[in-house]
């Protein structure tokens, strides 16, 4: 295909019930750097129904040069086909060289559908993005084989170059409300072909809860905590540190904590300022989700646990006695300060 006409970086600005998701701002942060390196514009694509001006203004404040809005009742709730149609219409109009989606359960559903329709490549779950100086191609780096290796993928002869990007990995820019807002609209024709899937019921379960990928302190527990009662003690410790509780896959599979707490290759990627791993042995799949944390403390009774190879500070001790002791020390330190 002739790729010369494709310019610009487009970010799919995922919104749920009208609220732009944090990952959209992160993608604008990453997209801004790529767009600047290429000297091309950064476009935010916002699709939904009855979208307010506010959402567009925020996207501009976080780095978008242009906000493209597709607003239609068919887009009120997420369904693959109407959203694929909206994204395709924007891709055909603006011919971006690059399109980013968040690697969420929406982005990972939508992006492959769109990439197949556009007959281009798609790289999943990227954790690093850069521009190749010589070819100006996008370099998309992602974990593979359960996080055991990293692979850098290119899409040299097709456009747009598409990737989904893991939430929590890219940094959003400082909000700058003085950035100019430019809005354009795309209005694809929606018809009966979009309606093969009908929503009988939509249930929101955890909208109010804070997400672990947005916490600056995480207290993570693994099977070494011994059981669900012991695991509960991490709540108090997380509270004392002003953080949230996260977990390894083993304890999620065992049903001690819900899946949205899971860190790792099949869970969330996190990089808090402090990651305190309690009774986590450190399978490679877990490490893949937390190794970029600022300061990693590991506590485990097994001194050969692989987690210690990734920790900035390791303590070999009985974790179930350590957890209440640390909570006490923290509260004492705070009271004394």
């Amino acid at each position: 295909m002739d790729i010369s006409g494709y310019k610009g970086v487009m970010v799919f600005a995922e919104q749920r019930r009208g609220a732009v998701q944090n990952v959209a701002y992160e993608l604008l942060g990453a997209g801004r750097a790529i767009a600047d390196a290429l000297d091309e514009p950064l476009i935010a694509l916002l699709a939904g129904s009855e979208l307010g001006e506010e959402a567009a203004r925020e996207l501009a404040a976080y780095g978008a040069d242009l906000v493209v809005i597709v607003d239609h009742p068919s887009l009120a709730r997420y369904l693959t086909e109407p959203y694929a149609k909206a994204v395709m219409a924007a891709v055909e109009r603006y011919k971006p060289g690059i399109v980013f989606f968040g690697a969420t359960t929406i982005g990972r559903d939508l992006a492959p559908r769109v990439s197949a329709r556009a007959a281009t490549g798609l790289t999943a779950d990227c954790t690093a993005l850069a521009v190749d100086d010589a070819s100006r191609n996008l370099l998309m780096t992602r974990p593979a084989f359960g996080g055991n290796i990293m692979a850098t993928i290119v899409c040299p002869e097709h456009r747009p170059q598409m990737s989904t990007v893991r939430p929590g990995v890219m940094r959003k820019l400082e909000r700058d409300a003085s950035r100019p807002l430019r809005v354009e609209r795309v209005e694809p024709a929606f018809d009966g072909s979009d309606a093969a899937v009908e929503i009988l019921e939509e249930v929101v379960e955890k909208a109010q809860k804070k997400k672990i990928e947005e916490a600056s302190v995480l207290v993570a527990g693994g099977r070494g905590m011994g059981g669900p009662e012991n695991f509960k003690r991490l709540d108090g410790l997380a509270d004392a540190l002003g953080g949230l509780v996260a977990a390894s896959r083993a304890v999620v599979d065992a049903g001690w904590v819900p899946q949205d707490r899971q860190v790792g290759q099949t869970g969330k990627t996190v990089r808090p300022d402090l990651y305190l791993a309690c009774g986590i042995s450190g399978m490679i799949q877990h490490i893949a989700g937390m190794e970029d944390s600022g300061f990693i403390v590991a506590v485990n009774k097994n001194k050969d646990a692989p987690i210690f190879e990734y920790a900035d500070l390791g303590v070999v001790t009985d974790v179930n006695k350590f957890v209440p002791a640390l909570e006490e020390e923290l509260r004492a330190a705070r009271a004394g300060a």
Binding site: L122, G146, N148, V203, E291, K321, F322, E329
Partner: protein
């Protein structure tokens, strides 16, 4: 009803280790398994067969040894199996893989296509939706419950923060989540039957595909480089009693201005 289940044979990535000297994957001795999400999809299809009556065909693309995963599917209760195997298919990315599978699906009657959400070696979650696009079928991914009645599939589609109950007119494609069911074991009679059955092997000639659109050649994406993740240098590890350990951690967190 005709159901086709797409299955991938994958290395059990929980067993994969890195050679510390060379930094490469140690593949020797790593067991191959039926991808877990695909196995849940197969179980969902077999449950529909038990309840409503259906013909279940297992479809896989891979090297000749992927036949083993298909024999397992037959032994669990699939009626037929087709293996897409040809050197020309090698090196395919998800676009070329989904094009190849879609070409095969055009030759197999189907009202319902079931894929796993993602394979544990690639984790992309792309092939299912891409097959649906190539076949112009609706798809629903992240499915955790499935029922079929009156020409419609009714299913539960999971999100990070909730779920949807959806109704989709057949034919359609779904991608199944591990955990939606407990896959059955192979039965003794099933294993016996599985080895008496013929597994059809289709290559490029049978599918009549353009060689430019399959395998490495037909793949829009390329692996430019890959490397084993090196661990950052480990910090200090102390063997302490719990109280001393707690004091040390508080001290260090203060030094780092984390608390």
């Amino acid at each position: 009803m005709n159901i086709v289940v797409c299955i991938k044979q994958v290395p059990d990535t929980t067993e994969v280790r890195i050679d510390p000297a060379t930094g490469t994957l140690i593949r020797d001795g790593i067991p191959s398994i039926m991808n877990p999400d695909d196995k849940a999809g197969l179980e969902a299809a077999l449950a529909l067969k038990d309840a409503l009556g259906a013909k279940v065909t297992a479809l896989s693309m891979g090297p000749p040894q992927a036949e083993l995963a298909l024999r397992e599917a037959l032994a669990m209760g699939a009626d037929e199996a087709v293996l897409l195997s040809d050197r020309a298919f090698g090196g395919a990315d998800t676009w070329a893989t989904s094009s190849t599978l879609a070409a095969a699906l055009k030759k197999i009657p189907h009202e319902l296509i079931v894929c796993g959400r993602q394979a544990i070696d690639g984790d992309t979650a792309q092939v299912g939706p891409q097959i649906a696009e190539h076949l112009c079928l609706p798809h629903v991914s992240y499915v955790s419950e499935l029922a079929v009645a009156g020409g419609y599939a009714e299913l539960k589609r999971v999100f990070e923060d909730g779920y949807q109950r959806l109704r989709v007119k057949l034919p359609c494609l779904i991608t199944a989540l591990k955990g939606m069911n407990q896959p059955r074991y192979m039965s003794v009679g099933g294993v016996y039957e599985a080895y008496r059955k013929e597994i059809a092997v289709w290559g490029l000639a049978e599918l009549g595909l353009d060689p430019e659109r399959i395998g490495l050649k037909g793949s829009p994406t390329r692996v430019k480089s890959s490397y084993a993740k090196g661990s950052k240098s480990a910090g200090k590890v102390y063997e302490l009693d719990p109280k001393e350990g707690a004091r040390l951690v508080v001290e260090q967190l203060k030094e780092k201005f984390i608390i």
